[in-house]
């Protein structure tokens, strides 16, 4: 099923190449100071990771990554850049030693935790003994979808997924209705009110300066 695990050397090379590009993009994002370049690179990072998820047969995760990472998060980050400055403040090297040590310790703990994980394809692991094994047996005959995760999400738990989608859509719709878009948006109204207030104040000031000499 997974040609990657059948000793297909080329696909492994593609995976390594994609992961190397992910690493390079992550290092560049950490090193750069131009926020626009960082937003662009994070879009590239999401695209590469989505391509990598497809290469390892996790198509549903890849869809989510492409839609959220490459699509929405670029929009959100650009919107945040409209409100803030364009470049990050330069930092002194080694000024963030404490967070670095925390990250290092967390990473070491996670790597230590992988020792306890069952081996890939282990028949006695917890995921393969219970209901998961049943899904592996019947999923193909029920749905004819090669990836087992997809029928579990979209078929066996279809109503659950539909409910989640409804909740997220309703929340997004409520936020959009509250904030609005374009000229009727909250930001635009605040801007207009601030400007009309300024004009009124300046009119008052000019009126006062007109009255003063008379």
């Amino acid at each position: 099923m997974h040609s990657m695990f059948n000793g297909d050397f080329g696909i492994i090379l593609v995976n390594i190449f994609l992961l190397a590009m992910l690493f390079a993009a992550a290092v560049a994002i950490a090193r750069m100071r131009s926020l626009f370049a960082i937003v662009m690179l994070s879009g590239i990072y999401s695209l590469v990771s989505a391509a990598w998820y497809v290469a390892v047969d996790a198509v549903d995760v890849a869809f989510t990554e492409a839609a959220v990472g490459a699509g929405m998060s670029t929009v959100v980050l650009l919107g945040a850049m409209l409100l803030t400055s364009r470049t990050a403040k330069p930092e002194k090297p080694f000024s963030r030693l404490g967070p670095f040590l925390v990250c290092l310790a967390t990473g070491a703990a996670l790597i230590y935790a992988t020792v306890d994980l069952p081996a890939l394809g282990d028949a006695t692991s917890a995921a393969n003994t219970g209901v998961g094994y049943t899904y592996l047996q019947v999923a193909w005959f029920d749905t004819a979808i090669p990836n087992v995760v997809t029928p579990v999400l979209a078929s066996y738990r279809g109503f659950d997924t539909l409910g989640e989608t409804t909740v997220v859509f309703t929340a997004g719709l409520a936020v959009a209705l509250l904030l609005g878009f374009g000229e009727r948006s909250l930001a635009e109204r605040i801007r207009n009110e601030g400007r009309s207030g300024d004009e009124r104040r300046s009119k008052k000031a000019s009126a006062a300066s007109d009255e003063d000499p008379s």
Binding site: D8, V14, G43, V54, E199
Partner: protein
């Protein structure tokens, strides 16, 4: 043949990544990201044929749609930055009308 095309596209992706790193102007980076999205679509399509699962072509087409979202967002970003004054002017026009 398909594998050779895939390798060529991966090399192109690496070059575009380099351009996004060192790109002196913002427009180099925008072009790099846009072309990178296109290259991802092509690479996914070819990867489906290399892995003998041509269904990946559908996913690649959907990626092309998603790629437009960020491009349009970037274009609107630059429109707002350079059109900061027209935004104010439009508001003033509305005030004059009202």
């Amino acid at each position: 043949m398909t594998a050779a095309a895939l390798i060529a596209i991966l090399v192109g992706m690496a070059l575009l990544l380099l351009r996004a790193f060192i790109g002196p102007t913002l427009y180099d980076r925008i072009l790099a990201v846009n072309s990178f999205g296109t290259k991802t679509v092509l690479a996914l399509g070819l990867l489906g044929f290399v892995m003998e699962r041509p269904e990946f072509l559908d996913i690649a087409i959907t990626y092309a749609l998603i790629n437009f979202v960020s491009t349009i967002a970037i274009l609107k970003f630059f429109r707002y930055r350079s059109f900061q004054v027209p935004l104010v002017r439009r508001g003033q026009g509305g005030n004059a009308d009202g």
